[in-house]
Each structure stands twice: as C-alpha cells, then as structure tokens.
C-alpha cells in the first residue's frame, strides 16, 4: 500500500506541475482570439476537419497580412451539432476571451450558442446555418451568417431543372434543416408535377441508398433533385446508376464541388450531374486563391462550406481591424457591405443575413468539373 501512496503523490505533483505550466499567462496586446464552433462530434462530425482546415488557411493569411500589428489565434470549440453542447462550448470560448465566434454549422447549434453569446456581447458569424429561424432569432443584432437562406437556391434549382427538360422530377432530400428547407421550397416553387418526394436521414446506417433509388425508378420519374451532402449523395448516385436510372440528376451546394468525385468508388456514376452553388464575386479572385491555399495546406477531402468558413473568419477579422476598440456589431455591419469573399459577395441585411449574388450552375462531364452557367434573381439563367 505504501508504494501506491508514493505513486499517488508523484502523480499529484506531476498533475499540479502540468497545471501550473498550463496556467502560465503569456501574450501581448495585439493578440486577437477568434472562436470557431466546429461540429467535431455528432452527426456531421465528418465535415469538421474541412471547416477547421479552412479556418487555419484564413488565420495564416491574416497573420501574414497583419504581421507586426495583430496576431490572430483560432480557438476551436466543439458544437456537437447540438444546441446545449454548442452553448456550453460558446461559453468556454467566451471565457477564453474570444472577440467573435465563427459558427456554428448546424442551425440548432448556432441558435443555442447565440443564447449565450448575445448576453455576453460577443457577435457570431455562422458559415453554414441555412435555417430561416436564424433570421428571426432573438439576438439583439449579434447573429450574422454568410450563407444565403435556402429559399433563393430553390428558385435557382427550379430554373435549372426546367432548362434541363425535367417534367416529372423526384425530390430526394435530407431531413435536416438544410435538406428539408431546400426540398420543401423546391416543391413549393415547382409549377409542374413532382413525381415523388422522399426525405431521409443522412447519417450512415439510417438510410438505404438502393431503396431511395428504387423509389425513383418505381415512381417512373424522369429526373432527380438531390439535396444531399457528399457521402450520402455519392451513395445514392451510385445506387441510381446500379438500378439503371439514366435521367438527369440535379444537386445543390452540398455536392457542387470538384472534390465530390472523391466520395465515389465508381466515378463513372458522377458523370452528367448538374449542381448549383453560390456564385463568387464578379471580379474577385478570392475563390481560386482560397482553393489553391486550401489544397496547398492539405485541407480535408470531401469538405463542404469551406469557402464560407474562410469568408466568415476573414470578414470578422476585417471588422475587428477596422475598429479595434469600438462596437463590433456595428463594425461587422459596416464591413459586410459588398464584401468579396471566396463563397460570393456578401452584404448583411438588417437581420444579419446575406442575399448572395446568384448561383453558379456547375456540371460534371465524366469527372471533369466546370461551371459554364450562372443564375441570378433578376436575369435568370445565363452563360458565365
């Protein structure tokens, strides 16, 4: 027993030493901490590495630009894709002294976190929450987002589907706020017949891609609107191809990315897919330079909303730099006017939402990805 007690004493002293080292306070006046709520655990944990990699790209660029004036630090908390957990993490981020929180991805997590952040006077910029509930949240002006609400993209998808000659489209969508929002809005805006609407839970093990494909074929549908993320989208497209479906498949920004092919085992199934995504600013090189930097930094494959994450962090940093000691909410509203980002040109409205500048219409020819057309609210479809 004595040896065990001695061992315990040793452990206690080691732990105390570690604590003392950990608690040592360093840092200077120019350090700016930016919080990032990332869904590191929970149903969309697989996309967290992409968000964090995009965040790191933004921070390293910011530190290169503001070398000497500011030192930006990215503090990553786990949102868990859940309101309660995101709020607790937001509290920890605020306790660590962040000036602004970028996030969260899941709408429920964002709304849970803002209930903590707004009372503490810390603004939030979400990079992936598309629910309409974000616009109406009781946030005292503290909640912003750089993704447009789903309603507009649904209109763009209707135009794309009509142009592709779809007459009886099936709508397959995820039963989360993103998928259900797009799917419901598409069905509401589509003037003709919707062949069948099927919702599914995108978590692996809770949907069966071949049943979804079968429902499209048995319904006699001529095209498919697919509101999915990359992994489930690829599984469904492979199943459609395996069941001999050869109609048009149209997707949204969850899969409108050259890296979508990485999610396929059989890349022949991706050919012919048309997909929309928010359009970058007209003369902006932000998108291509971000993509190059993301690839160079070894960013995660099959990621989604990376451009939005990058934009949200850089926009927040620009607002902090523009008025270091003033009201950050006002600064964000001022900075967020025609801000040319990697995921589009962002202008915050009174609710902290962005309207976007239309959508790119991209397609896969074989595995070659290109975006030859654009869609805007005023002009409809046009060549890029």
């Amino acid at each position: 027993m004595k040896s065990i007690n001695a061992f315990r004493l040793l452990l206690i002293s080691v732990a105390l030493a570690a604590f003392a080292v950990g608690c040592g306070v360093f840092g200077g006046s120019e350090t700016v901490k930016i919080g990032l709520l990332s869904p590191q655990t929970g149903p969309i944990a697989q996309y967290a590495p992409g968000f964090e990699d995009a965040g790191k790209v933004a921070i390293s660029e910011l530190n290169a630009t503001h070398d000497g004036d500011y030192k930006f630090e990215l503090i990553v908390g786990d949102s868990g894709c859940d309101g309660t957990q995101a709020a607790t993490s937001a509290q920890t981020l605020i306790d660590s002294g962040v000036k602004v929180i970028v996030g969260a991805a899941c709408s429920g997590a964002t709304l849970g976190a803002i209930a903590v952040a707004a009372p503490a006077g810390v603004p939030m910029v979400s990079y992936a929450s598309t629910s309409p509930a974000i616009s109406t949240a009781d946030d005292n002006g503290h909640l912003f987002r750089v993704v447009p609400s789903d309603a507009q993209q649904a209109v763009a998808l209707v135009a794309v589907a009509s142009a592709a000659g779809a007459s009886k489209p099936a709508v397959l969508y995820m039963t989360n706020d993103y998928g259900a929002g797009l799917g419901d809005n598409f069905a509401a805006n589509w003037s003709g017949d919707v062949c069948t609407q099927v919702g599914y839970d995108p978590a692996e093990g809770s949907y069966n891609a071949s049943t979804l494909a079968q429902s499209v074929i048995d319904g006699g549908c001529d095209s498919v609107l697919l509101m999915s993320y990359a992994t489930d989208g690829a599984a469904i497209m492979e199943a459609l191809s395996a069941q001999g479906f050869n109609g048009q498949i149209i997707g949204a920004d969850g899969i409108a990315d050259a890296a979508f092919t990485e999610s396929f085992t059989d890349t022949s199934a991706v050919s012919g897919l048309i997909a929309t995504r928010p359009r970058p600013g007209e003369e902006s090189s932000a998108k291509s330079s971000f993509e190059a930097a993301y690839a160079a930094a070894g960013g995660a494959d099959g990621a989604i909303y990376t451009g939005e994450t990058y934009d949200a962090i850089k926009l927040a940093a620009a607002a902090i730099v523009s008025d270091p000691d003033g009201n950050l909410v006002n600064a964000l509203n001022k900075t967020g006017v025609n801000y040319a980002g990697a995921s589009g040109t962002h202008t915050f409205d009174a609710a902290g939402d962005v309207l976007g500048t239309g959508y790119e219409v991209c397609q896969f020819d074989g595995t070659n990805f290109s975006c030859p057309r654009i869609w805007t609210a005023d002009a409809g479809l046009a060549t890029n």
Binding site: G83, T84, T92, D95, S96, A120, S210, Q214, S215, G298
Partner: protein, 983 residues
C-alpha cells in the same frame, strides 16, 4: 371446483366481451368519422383539420390492436403460438386498412409501389446489418444478463481492422488495382478473419478490465449496463482519435464496388392504389420491370452474418462450451455447483460475441462508408431486434432480425406513397423508427416477445416427441434414414450429404477450439503484461476519486448510511464541486457570472431529470430509459403553445403553457403504466427508449411539430419565455444599460434563479412525499412487488402515480431547457447526449437518494465545462492547459507513429493525418475522459457516491443517535401508518 369455474369465468370471459365491444365500437366510430365526418371524435368538434384525422387514425389503429389482442389472449394454447408469430402480418393488414379508410375519407389517392425483389433483398440486407450487432448483444444478455452497449463499438473495431488491413503495404496493391473485370477475394477473406480475431481479444480485454471486476462486486445489471456505456464512450473516442470523424470505405477490390458489380434478380412491381380509385384497381401487377441489382458487397454481408448465426447455433447445441454457456444462462449457481468454471464461460462469451460483431463490422465496411458514429445509429434498432426475439434466444433473434429488416424495407414504399398523398413527404423519415413503433405495438400484444412463443412451442413439440418413443432422436442419423423406405434415393443422398457436412462442421469447430486454446495460451503471457500496464492506467485515473473518498472518510468519519452522514457527505461533495466551478477560468466578471449562471441552470435541468429517473427507477424500480421522452414532451409542448400564432404556434402565456405541458406529461406517464404493467424490466426499458426515439423522429418529420419560422422549417423557435416581456423594455433593462451590461445578460441570471428555485421546490416536495407512507409503498414495490400486493396495495395504481409524478417533474426540466436554449431542435433528444448522461448522473450519484442525484448531475455538468477548457486550449499559448495539450499531442504522435507504426502502415497514418501531422482530437479525449469518469466511479463504488440511506426502524434502546425525524419518528406512528395503508 365450482368456485374455480366461477373465478375462471369472471377473470376471463367478462373482460373479454367488454373489450370486444369497446374495440368494435371505436373501430366503427373511427370509420364513420373518417368517411362521413360523424361520431364521437369527428363530430365532437374537439379536433379539426389535420389533428382530426391524426386522432381518427390513431383511434382506428388502437381499436384494431385491441381486437388482435383479444384474439391472442383468447386463443387456445394450441393456436396461440402460430397466432403470435403471425401478429406482425395482422398488424400490417390493419395498418393498410387504416390508410385506405383515411385516404378515402380525405378524397385523395395514394399509389404505393412495391418492388418485390427490392423489398425482399433490402429486408435481408437490413436484417443482416442489425443482426451483426444483435447476435453479440443477445449472447451477452443470455449469459451475462446485461445489455452491453459496447457491442456497437465492437462492430466498428472490426470495420477499422478491415480498413487498416486495406491500407497495409501487403494488401493495398489489391485494393488499389485497376479495374480488370475479375474479383480478387484475398483481402476480403483476410479482413474478416483478422477482424474476427482482433475484436475477440478486444472484447476479452474489456471483460477482464471492467466487467470481471463488477461481477466480483455482485453489481446489478443496471450498473453493468452503465459501465458498458462508459466502455462504449471510451472505445468510440479511441476510434475517433485514431481514425478521425471522416468516412472511409473498405474496398476489397476495385471491381467489387462498381455499380455494375451486382447480380440481376428478376422482379415484379406490385402497385397498391389506396383511397379514391376512379379507374384504377386496388392492385396492379407488372412483371415487365428492370431486374433489381443486388450488390456483391451486400451478398457477402448477408451470407457472412447468417453463416455466423448457424455457426453459433451449432456451437451452442453441439459443443461442450455451448452446453456450459446454456447452463450458466439458465442457472449460474447450479452451473457453478456442477463444476462449470463461471469466469471461463463469461470470458468465452465476451470472446465470441465481440468476434461476431467484428466479423459483421468488417463486412459492413464493404457497403457503408464507415465513421465512428455508425455504431450508435445501429445500436437502438439492434435492441429492438433482440427484444422482439425475446432477449437471449438465438433463433428468436434471427426471426426478430428478419421481421425488423423486412418491416423496414416494406414500410419505406408505404411511407413514401402515403406521405406524398397526405402532404407529408418527410414521412419516410419514420422508416427509421418503424422497428420501434412495431415493437411497441407487439409488446402490447405479446408481452414476452416472439422468441418465447417459439420456445414454448418448441418445448411442447419436444414433449410430444418424447411421448411417442418411435420418433428418431436426430434427423440425420444414418441408420434411421436407411430404415425409412419412403424417402426417395435423391433426397436421401442429399440428407446424407447434409449429415456429413454437419459432422465436418463439428470437426472444424473442434479444430477451431483447439486453435483458440493454443493461441490463447500463447497470447496470455503478452496479455498479462498488457493488463498490468492497463491496471496501472486505471489506478492513475482512479486516484482523484479515491483520494477524495479517502479524505472524506478519514477526516470526517462520514457514515453514509445515516441521514446525517449522508447530508454531510452531500455538503462536502457539493462544496468541492462548487470550488471547481469557481476555479474555472474566465476573462471578466460578466463572463464569469454568465458561466456560473449557465452551470446552475444546467444543474437544475439535469437535477430535475435525475429526480424523475430516481423516482421511476431508484424508488419504484421501473427501469425507465425514456426520461428524455417526458423532458421532450415538456419542451415541445411549451415551445409550440407559446410560439407566435403567425408562425404555426398558439401564442399562449409561457406559464400557462408550462402548466399544460406538465399536465400532458403526467397524463402520458399515467397512461403508460397500464399497457406496460405486464412487461419485464428490460422490455419496459426498451419501450420507453423507443417512445423517446419516436418523438425525436417526429420532430424531424412531422410538420405540426414545427413553429417559429414563416416557411415552417424544422425546429421550434421564437417562443415567449416567462418574465421576458416584464424583464425587457422596463426599469430592469435601463439599469442593465446603465451598468453597461449587454441586453439579455440579466435574463440569464433570472433563468438560473428560476432553475434553482424549481429544483429546491421539487426536491422538498419529493422528500416530503417519499418519507410519507406512499414513499414506503413505492420502495416496497421495488423490493418485492408480490409482497406489496399481498399487503393490499394496488401496485398498478401506485406505479402509475409514480410514473405520472416523475413525468411531470421531467416536463418541468424540459420547459427550463427550452427557455435556456431559446429553441428546440430534434438533436436535443439525442439518446447519447441526454438519456445516457442522465443515467450516468443517476448511477454515479447514488440511486435511490435525491442528494446523490444533485451530486451526479453536478458532476455530469461540470465535467463538460472542465474538459472544454482543455479542448479549446490548443488555439492559444495563453490559455490554461496549453502546455499539457502540447505534451499530450507529442505523446499521441509517438504512440501513433512509433508504437502503432509497428502494427499499421505509414499509409494508414497519412490517410487520416494530413502531411503526417499527428494531432490528438481533444473533443474525443474529452469523450474518453467522461467515459473513464463513469467507469471508475462505478468500479470504486457500484452503489454511487451518496448511496441510499437504508430506512430501518429505530431501535428503542438507542436514543442518543439523532437521525433527522423526516423518515421515521418512532415505532408507534409507523405501525399505525402501516395499518392504515392496508385498507
């Protein structure tokens, strides 16, 4: 004899007739309601619009179930088993009838497309998926008598073994080979063998480290179950840390996974037209459809899993080990006394069940993209499978798996067709909970599951066979076959062949047993060393707890079996935890205040939920896994009723909404008691968790449960909160502005005070009630239901009252939760985040003791905050623990590259960690630490930190011991009270 006959008549005949009348009446009422808009429900004006037809279809379904129940109960023993086995079909027919009447009543039409082969094969696929976890689960349940949550993670270990093998230098060339039109089997076979072996040893190791110790302490099944929950958290966290959250696919050979790698199976399309049929018939069949392509990977899974089941049945029936396992399952004491080494059998069981799960995992990895969350998605349906097949019966679980799989596949076209017709395209989301809905229905009809029906039928059959001695004892006996002249030559040779094959299988089992024994002895020495290191690790983790225990015990001489001692312990622990709260870092006074307010609000919510669980499970003895169901009812009702009218809400005052929510939850709890009265403990548990899952999926899929946005997006938001109107735009806000507080900050503190007040009020109420005679009745029900019935207590009514009270408390917690989050999303009911954590608080705190509930809830809340400080520390050198995380990163990197590198290839490291930059995932380290806190707390004291104070009558001689008089004043009034209760 006449007395007996009269009793027989009174007990059986009369309720049966009454039930029949009720059933027929409600069926009729629902029918006229749906078609002619007339009757009790439709004509009363209580319900309108969508609510009306939801209530009507529920009424019709319920009356149909009552009628089936009468058939089941009244059937003679001879017919009972077949009827129970065919109830699924009857229930399905009633469901179709309900849909037909409903859609006709609404003057709509629905087309349901059944693609026959697709449904059959998808059904097989789903059964194989669920069975891969369920077999191991049922085997553990049979022998060790607890539900092992870690089985799902065991399956994933198998998947990741397959992936690691795929990335190894030897096999990567096979996986990465270009398409060549022929399939290479090497990698698939090696992967399944390795997965089988590695998971077996993992299972053994875990059994040795955790469950063996708990068995020695005679821990209850509930404690074992929560320990397995901790194990599953740790395992999942390790998988996350090593393999990240990304999804990976196991590709045994590129040709294997092409969309052309399928077997075409001819199929037919059966169209069912429900509702208004103008020119179309009820059923149409066309055989002229594209064949269904069944993927090779799915064929491998189905064959692998069913082969494993046959292997297992043979093992249980034909080998010595199997007989020993069955003996231990039947009667451990008798088995031990007849010379069976219990520990050996337990070890073999963990060994086997983990191995089968691993095999399933390796095959599943060939179909689904794998990530560490996958196990959780499959765990609950796997529970439904084992309950359906009567827990612990292998043939039962096989049938349960087939039923659940087919049901799932069959329900998807129905939900899609009917959902599109009823403006509910999201209805197909319900396919996920179909197993649960079905299970709830079936448990009402046959409370002991299908497996027990089959078993009793089997026993009957064997008894009959024994009675006429002429029947052969073993169907494949060669001499018997020769004697029987009726069997034709072909079938005889076929049976001969089967007989020989079975003998070969037996021989191979013997061989594999020899192999296992050999490899076991070989590995044992290495295992022993590994165990020593792990024991050391456990000692390290245990030390904060053991030191805490030592201090309180040594310095204060706390006797936790008296009221005073229990209070003292509570106050000490509470103060320790409170000091930890004060030590949590924060940047300013405002943020610190908000932090403490949040901790106390969460403590209130989890404390109230734990009170509810303690009342149900700790005091009354009903294992309730659906606390979150009642919490959810509270949150959803409060949110919906107080959301603005223009966004699908009802615009009520939040206090009125809260009272209504509490009443609705209480009624739900009361009603739940009656149909579940006959259920076994573990069936009640799975039933309650099923209800919670159904509510969660309804939040995703049911448009009526959405409010707060004009476009009716998922979630409930924008609801009014109590005192909010009073708090804002009033003097309080002016004061806040003067002090420079951001708007909303004072309300956070108000909410925390409300949470504290609610908790204290409920605690006082519960203490008063539980120290009254009613509390003693509840405890007596927990200890022995029969005795308490014998004393004249109406057990059912008391159970219902306990359920209702607990549900009401949980609903109050739900209301607080809704106000704290300001919105309600389906994810908040996630069983892993809520139900299991509340259970952990209950077990760690000390079941049966409300003081323990507060401590347990406090620990669960604080653990999150403390480890969060560590999670965020990597971002900046100025944060606490930054040095520690850097150190942990380097240790982790060394473990992965230098130690693990001996086993796995460089490629498998680079696939996960880009540029070889090996970093420890801190949120998952947090998950592992929470799991370890749960396991070590249970290993330290399986009764919890503040155990229940045994309430024993005070001895008249010991007067100076002054235990507080809230339980027993003295002997005389207690006897008086006891006498009164009997009336």
């Amino acid at each position: 004899m006449p007395l007996n006959a009269i009793r027989h008549q009174r007990l059986l005949k009369t309720p049966w007739l009454r039930q029949l009348l009720f059933g027929l009446f409600f069926l009729f009422d629902a029918y006229v309601g749906a078609i002619y808009n007339f009757g009790l429900v439709a004509g009363s004006g209580l319900f309108s619009g969508q609510f009306k037809w939801i209530v009507l279809s529920a009424e019709m379904m319920a009356s149909g179930l009552i009628l089936i129940r009468i058939v089941v109960n009244q059937a003679t023993p001879k017919w009972k088993t077949p009827i129970i086995i065919f109830t699924p079909i009857l229930v399905g027919l009633i469901a179709f009838l309900v849909l037909e009447v409903l859609i006709s009543g609404l003057n709509r039409s629905a087309t349901i497309n059944f693609n026959l082969s697709s449904i059959l094969l998808s059904g097989l696929y789903w059964s194989a998926v669920y069975l891969s976890i369920a077999i191991g689960l049922t085997l553990t349940y049979k022998v060790q008598r607890f539900a092992n949550f870690a089985q799902a993670e065991m399956m994933l270990v198998g998947s990741y073994v397959a992936l690691t093998l795929m990335w190894s230098d030897t096999f990567f060339s096979i996986s990465d080979a270009p398409q060549d039109g022929s399939i290479n089997w090497t990698l698939l076979i090696w992967a399944s063998i390795c997965a089988f072996i590695v998971t077996r040893f993992t299972g053994l190791l875990i059994d040795h480290l955790v469950f063996r110790r708990l068995r020695r302490k005679m821990a209850t099944p509930q404690v074992m179950m929560i320990a397995s929950l901790g194990v599953s958290m740790v395992l999942r966290a390790i998988l996350f840390m090593r393999f990240s959250a990304s999804t990976f696919r196991f590709v045994p050979d590129r040709d294997w996974r092409l969309s052309t790698s399928t077997i075409d199976i001819p199929t037919g399309l059966l169209n069912l037209n429900l509702g208004d049929r103008v020119a179309t018939p009820l059923m149409e069949y066309s055989a002229n459809v594209n064949p269904y392509g069944f993927a090779y990977s799915k064929i491998a899974l189905v064959f692998g899993i069913f082969a494993a089941i046959i292997f297992l049945i043979l093992l249980l029936q034909k080998t010595r080990l199997g007989r020993q396992m069955r003996a231990v399952a039947d009667n451990p004491d008798l088995a031990a006394s007849s010379g069976i080494h219990l520990e050996h059998v337990h070890r073999s069981t963990s060994f086997l069940s983990a191995g089968i799960a691993g095999l399933g995992g390796s095959l599943l990895a060939g179909i689904l993209p794998i990530n560490p969350e996958l196990g959780l998605m499959l765990l609950l349906p796997a529970f439904a499978v084992i309950v359906l097949g009567s827990i612990g019966s292998i043939p039962g679980v096989l049938i349960g798996g087939l039923i659940v799989g087919l049901l799932r596949a069959l329900s998807e076209p129905v939900l899609i067709g009917a959902g599109n017709s009823l403006d509910r395209p999201t209805a197909s989301g319900f396919a996920e909970v179909m197993p649960f809905i079905f299970l709830v229905g079936l448990l009402m009809l046959a409370p002991r599951g299908i497996g027990s029906a089959i078993e009793s039928w089997n026993i009957e059959r064997i008894r009959k066979r024994r009675m006429n001695e002429t029947a052969p004892s073993f169907p494949f006996d060669d001499e018997d076959l020769q004697a029987s002249s009726k069997i034709s030559q072909e079938s005889k040779s076929l049976i001969d062949y089967f007989g020989r094959t079975i003998k070969k299988i037996e021989a191979s089992i013997d061989l594999s047993k020899g192999f296992i024994a050999l490899s076991w002895n070989f590995l044992k020495q290495y295992l022993d060393r590994a165990l020593k290191i792990l024991n050391l690790l456990f000692a390290i983790i245990n030390f904060p707890f053991s030191t805490m225990k030592l201090h309180t015990g040594r310095l204060l001489k706390v006797k936790n079996d008296t009221e005073r001692g229990s209070w003292t312990l509570f106050i000490i622990l509470f103060l320790v935890l409170f000091i930890i709260v004060l030590l949590l870092p924060s940047v300013s006074a405002l943020t610190k205040t908000l932090q403490v307010a949040r901790i106390f609000t969460l403590l209130g919510i989890f404390g109230l939920a734990a009170f509810s669980l303690n009342l149900h499970t700790g005091i009354t003895g009903m294992t309730n896994f659906g606390v979150i169901f009642f919490v959810g009812i509270g949150a959803v009702v409060v949110g919906l009723l107080s959301a603005p009218v223009e966004t699908n809400g009802y615009g009520w005052n939040p206090w009125v909404a809260t009272i209504v929510a509490v009443i609705i939850a209480a009624v739900a709890g009361w009603l739940l008691a009656y149909p579940t009265a006959r259920l076994r403990m573990d069936y009640f548990a799975i039933l309650t968790i099923s209800l919670a899952e159904m509510l969660r999926i309804s939040l995703q899929a049911e448009p009526l449960l959405r409010a707060g946005t004009v476009t009716s997006g998922i979630g409930i938001s924008q609801f009014a909160r109590p005192f909010e109107g009073w708090w804002k735009g009033s003097p309080s806000e002016t004061v806040g502005n003067l002090l420079g507080l951001p708007a909303g900050a004072p309300y956070v503190i108000l909410l925390a005070s409300m949470a504290i007040i609610f908790t204290i009020l409920v605690w006082y109420l519960l203490n008063t009630l539980l120290s009254s005679p009613w509390g003693r009745i509840l405890r007596s029900i927990r200890e022995d239901e029969t005795v308490s019935q014998h004393h004249g207590h109406n057990v059912l009514t008391h159970k219902a009252a306990s359920l209702a009270l607990g549900a009401a408390i949980a609903a109050l917690a739900g209301a607080l939760w809704a106000w704290l989050n300001t919105n309600i999303w389906p994810d908040f009911m996630n069983p892993v985040r809520t139900t299991f954590l509340i259970w952990a608080a209950y077990i760690v705190g000390g079941r049966g003791n409300n003081r323990g509930m507060i401590i347990g809830a406090f620990i669960i809340v604080i653990v999150e905050f403390v480890f969060n400080v560590m999670v965020v520390s990597r971002g900046s050198a100025s944060l606490p623990f930054h040095g520690l995380t850097s150190f942990l990163d380097s240790v982790f990197s060394w473990l992965i590259i230098n130690v693990g590198g001996l086993v796995w290839s460089e490629r498998s490291i680079n696939e996960i960690f880009a540029h070889g930059n090996v970093l420890l995932s801190l949120p998952h380290l947090k998950l592992a630490l929470i799991g370890l806190v749960i396991i070590s707390a249970l290993l330290m004291s399986s009764r919890g930190l503040i155990p229940e104070v045994p309430s024993r009558p005070k001895r008249p001689t010991v007067i100076e011991d002054s235990s507080p008089p809230d339980t027993y004043e003295n002997v005389q009034p207690q006897l008086q009270a006891f006498g009164d209760e009997g009336k």
